[in-house]
């Protein structure tokens, strides 16, 4: 499944509902779907606010595939601002104590909610952020 929507705050809610319906169709548990929705919402807001720098007229693209019980959701912005990998990531305690900027907590939360999360290498000038959710072993998951 592929989805493309305007890079404007608020449209991430439509993306959340679309991807949740896709995951439901594949047989994922509702609890895991809620985690995925929260993580996806954060990732989309990052794409709109940072990757696309809130610039008008840009798009956010999402693709979803399911292989071997692993649902992969890729979020692409148009790379107006490229994600910079930091060598040392401040802990949440360091951030909360004011010794490091509060930014980046969204990525920390995403990592707690899904089974895989992170930016992937790309040569097309866009930021590619990938989320993956593994199937609950008790729940049959159809191939997409």
């Amino acid at each position: 499944m592929e989805l493309s929507f305007p890079s404007e705050l608020g449209y991430e809610r439509v993306a959340r509902d679309a991807v949740a319906a896709f995951a439901r169709r594949l047989g994922f548990d509702q609890e895991r779907i809620e985690d995925l929705k929260t993580a996806l919402g954060e990732a989309c807001i990052n794409a709109i606010e940072h990757g696309n720098g809130r610039a008008p007229g840009l798009r956010v693209d999402i693709s979803c595939v399911c292989e071997d019980g692993r649902l992969m959701v890729e979020i692409l912005d148009q790379g107006l601002n490229r994600y910079q990998q930091r060598n040392v990531v401040a802990s949440i305690d360091t951030k909360l104590s004011g010794l490091a900027p509060l930014r980046g907590m969204g990525l920390m939360m995403i990592a707690q909610l899904v089974d895989e999360a992170g930016f992937t290498e790309s040569q097309d000038g866009r930021n590619h952020f990938r989320l993956a959710l593994y199937r609950n072993q008790k729940t049959p998951v159809a191939q997409s």
Binding site: S4, P6, Y11
Partner: protein, 151 residues
Amino acid sequence: MTNSSSDTEPNERMIELRLPSRLGYEKVAMDTAASLAKRMGFDPERVDALRTAVSEAVTNAIEHGNGRDSTMKVLVMLTARPDELVVSVADQGLTPLDQDRTVMTPRIEDSFQKQDKGGWGIWLIRELMDEVEFTTAPTGGNQIRMVIHLE
């Protein structure tokens, strides 16, 4: 996916959804359209009507237009305007739509006589949406364009 924003007017926003041509995925289109419609301020009753119409249109595309070939895609385009939502559903046209079927009004008496109780989808879409037209998609497939007005 392509950057569609260049094809849209300044006061409209477009969402594109490309789905596998497999029964069940019409629910993804229904939920996406309903989510956008709620965001636009449509009443729950109109949102339900939209869900039903989108379901029928996508199911037709999967079953008839794409002939249940799961390698094909169904393209759903949702265009939000200040006073209306336009939904286009396009298939890859394995089976061209018989234009006579787009204007027929089925009769319940005939359905009782037939084993196949289908054939009500297009009629239902016309009943639920404010505007409906059947065209050929740029890719050559069948395309239905449905409009629902904000009151």
